[in-house]
């Protein structure tokens, strides 16, 4: 097995789908966040893979820069998201997203 771009992309697709799975089928609000973080990590993997396999060599490591900023933003997102989970838990006494349906039509 030779590591090609396609294999990296397939692995990142798998990670993305697992993240989607976590976000879609778990009832605990934290898992939606975990799923989103996984999807972001999959995107990061894609960035790095595309950067590594790109035929043109840019003077700046563009893919790496993308990932660094994504990580920073994902960290901010996780902090705020988890704070929201705590705030929601305080208010509704649950983190089960099935029960958090105040916005239903």
């Amino acid at each position: 097995m030779i590591a090609t771009l396609q294999i990296f992309l397939i692995i990142s697709a798998a990670l993305f789908s697992i993240g989607l799975l976590a976000a879609l089928s778990r009832r605990h609000a934290i898992f939606i966040l975990i799923g989103i973080e996984m999807m972001l990590a999959a995107a990061n993997l894609n960035f790095i893979a595309f950067w590594q396999f790109s035929p043109v060599r840019a003077p700046q490591p563009v893919g790496v820069m993308f990932v660094i900023f994504t990580i920073a933003i994902a960290a901010a997102e996780a902090a705020v998201g988890l704070a929201m989970v705590i705030a929601v838990y305080r208010h509704f006494r649950t983190t089960n997203v099935d029960q958090l349906t105040r916005l239903k039509g």
Binding site: L20, A23, L24, S25, I32, V97, D98, L100, T101, R102, L103, K104, G105
Partner: protein
């Protein structure tokens, strides 16, 4: 020195803004420091702008600009800059001088206010933002300062936030001008699309230097920019916020109406005048025609409304609207210099009038109804004298008062407009009306005997308030030296010509006309209101007309019943659609099924009954399923998004 100032003209707006930040930093209790910093900042700005004014005197067609790159995105770079030319220099001096007088006046007027230092911070900020508008050399930078002016006006109009009316007025001013700004912003985008630059002057590459490139779109760009100008300068139909802005403290009204906010619109039109006049035939373009007619309608309408108002500040507010209309007409017919001259002169005497009104209000303990005033001539002699100067200047009495000369210039320019003569005659009517309502106001406030007995406490204001009045009055008179047709120095300065002395021009038929008209207006006013009581004489004679005017031609009400009603109606319609159509559709299906069931029940109860029941149940099920789509469950929404992605994949598969 001169070289240095032309490169660093940004200092002029920076000084008051820095002062504002400093004051905010000092905190609420540093009242003395706040006033000190504010006034020092204003004095510094005045000195710097005077220094900047000097080099523009020496050479004709003087124009210095300093551009730099703000940021680069991709291959585009956004450049902004500052410009110094006669237009900017004259405006700067006027704004800082008038602003300084207003600041000093505010010392006395606002002395008892608990948010004294905040007031001065806002005031400094306001003045700095307006100076920024004046010196900006890029439409984008101008727009930034433009919005800062809007923000400052919002803060200041709503300064007494505890009054609901003030809060509402601030909101109204903000939203109304925002409607115009929307158009302005679209105009900016369009201009950028067409010309690729937003710099006014860039050594031959600026957008004002290559207006021919714009082609046919220049008309639309000009009209969109005019939307913004109309919003800020209170032109019909966006003038409604300006009278309401009287809810702010009187010095704020003075600043808004004289030097800063409303002047911005007129200034903007003058600044981008090449866009308006691009491709002009005989000095007339379709965009300029719009400007003229909007100006005429505004001027006449506001003058008519002013005749029937009873609030001292509202009368002045409508007079501002009317004068702005006059300026717009002047710009539209090609008299740019005349319009700007009127703007400058108006800045001085309108500030004088507002501060005089402020002095009266202060003396009468915040009484604003002119029908309850009277006989203040003896009680407040300084205020009266200076107010009379302002009133004569606004009415347009020629020879001695700056307003007379500039108004005469405007009329002169209008009379030569090749497109139509109607604006000219309407403006003449406006002159009469202006003289009439100003006379009415002075008669009510200063002559006769006291009404309603609220004035026995009246007292002359302290010198901190009267000295600015005197200075402004002297300016209003003194400026006329530079304005006479015999030696039109200011006009030549603005146009970049050499000024010539020609004493013959002092006496021309036009002056006679305006003298007669002004005399008629003043005389009519004197005669009508010589012994006016609590009830307005006009109200007794023609009550219907008076009521029509008193209620500002019901424009606010018209807006409320058309535009706002339309918005409310639209929201009600969508609410109703939600409630009945979608839900109702389901019920109708169910209902049809039920009717059908009822019809067949008697005929074939045993056979069809079950089927009909199924239909209705099914229909109800559809309804329930549809409402279940809005379950409020985030995961289902997310899943739908993922399914959408899948659908895109399928679509892609189908394509390839």
């Amino acid at each position: 020195m001169t070289d240095w100032i032309t490169r660093n003209v940004w200092l002029v707006p920076a000084t008051p803004i820095v002062a504002a930040l400093l004051i905010l930093g000092f905190g609420k209790h540093a009242r003395r420091a706040a006033t000190g910093v504010a006034i020092l900042g204003q004095i510094a700005a005045l000195i710097v702008s005077t220094c900047a004014f000097v080099p523009t005197l020496h050479s004709h067609e003087f124009r210095a600009f300093e551009n730099f790159t703000w940021f680069t995105f991709g291959e585009q770079s956004l450049r902004i800059g500052f410009v110094l030319d006669p237009l900017a220099a004259a405006m700067m001096v006027m704004i800082t001088l008038v602003g300084l007088c207003i600041f000093v006046f505010s010392l006395g007027y606002m002395a008892d206010d608990k948010n004294f230092s905040r007031f001065f911070a806002y005031l400094s900020f306001f003045s700095g933002a307006m100076l920024g508008v004046v010196v900006a050399n890029s439409l984008l930078l101008l727009f930034v300062f433009w919005e800062l002016v809007g923000l400052a006006s919002y803060l200041l109009i709503g300064f007494w936030i505890e009054r609901p009316s003030a809060a509402a007025a601030a909101k109204k001013a903000f939203i109304t001008t925002r409607i115009g700004d929307m158009g302005f912003f679209l105009g900016i985008l369009w201009l950028y699309h067409q010309s690729g630059t937003l710099l006014f002057y860039d050594g031959g590459h600026g957008c004002l230097e290559n207006v021919a490139l714009l082609g046919a779109s220049s008309t639309f760009i000009a009209l969109l920019i005019f939307c913004g100008a109309a919003g800020k300068s209170g032109q019909f139909p966006l003038h409604v916020w300006l009278p309401d802005a009287m809810e702010g403290p009187t010095p704020v009204s003075a600043l808004i109406h004289a030097a800063t906010m409303v002047a911005a619109g007129v200034f903007l039109v003058a600044r981008v005048y090449p866009i308006f006049s691009a491709g002009a035939v005989n000095g007339v373009t379709s965009s300029l025609i719009v400007v003229v007619w909007i100006g005429v309608v505004t001027g006449l309408m506001a003058a008519l409304i002013a005749v029937a108002q009873s609030d001292i500040k509202r009368i002045l507010a409508y007079s501002t609207v009317s004068q702005l209309g006059l300026m717009m007409v002047s710009l539209g017919v090609g008299g740019v210099a005349a319009g700007i001259m009127h703007l400058l002169a108006h800045g001085f005497f309108k500030a004088l009038l507002f501060l005089g009104a402020g002095s009266v209000i202060h003396g009468l303990h915040h009484e604003q109804d002119i029908r309850k005033m009277g006989g203040l001539r003896k009680l407040m002699p300084v205020t009266f004298a200076t107010y009379a100067v302002g009133m004569l200047a606004l009415s347009g009495v020629p020879f001695f008062f700056s307003g007379g000369w500039t108004k005469e210039e405007v009329l002169h320019a209008t009379s030569h407009w090749p497109s139509s003569h109607v604006p000219y005659f309407l403006l003449l009517l406006g002159v009469v009306l202006t003289a009439l309502y100003m006379t009415r106001q002075v008669m009510y406030v200063f002559f006769g005997s006291s009404r309603a007995g609220s004035d026995h406490h009246a007292h002359e204001s302290p010198s901190v308030m009267t000295v600015p009045l005197i200075i402004l009055a002297l300016c209003a008179i003194g400026l006329s030296i530079f304005l006479t047709p015999a030696w039109p120095w200011l006009e030549s300065y603005l146009l970049g010509h050499e000024a010539h002395i020609d004493a013959h021009l002092l006496l021309q038929p036009m002056i006679l006309v305006s003298l007669v008209l002004v005399g008629a207006g003043i005389g009519l006013g004197f005669w009508l209101y010589r012994r006016a009581g609590e009830v307005d004489p006009l109200q007794q004679k023609v009550p219907a007309v008076y009521r029509f005017l008193e209620n500002k031609m019901w424009i606010d009400e018209i807006y409320e019943h058309t535009i706002l009603a339309l918005a409310a109606f639209a929201s009600r319609v969508s609410d109703w659609m939600d409630r009945y159509i979608w839900d109702g559709l389901v019920r109708v299906i169910g209902g049809i099924g039920q009717i059908f069931g009822a019809l067949t029940k008697g005929a074939d109860e045993g056979v069809i009954n079950a089927g009909v029941d199924e239909t209705t149940v099914g229909a109800r099920g559809v309804g329930r399923a549809m409402s279940r789509l809005h379950s409020g469950q985030i995961q289902i929404y997310l899943g739908v998004i993922a399914l959408g992605m899948l659908a895109l994949f399928l679509f892609y598969a189908w394509l390839t």
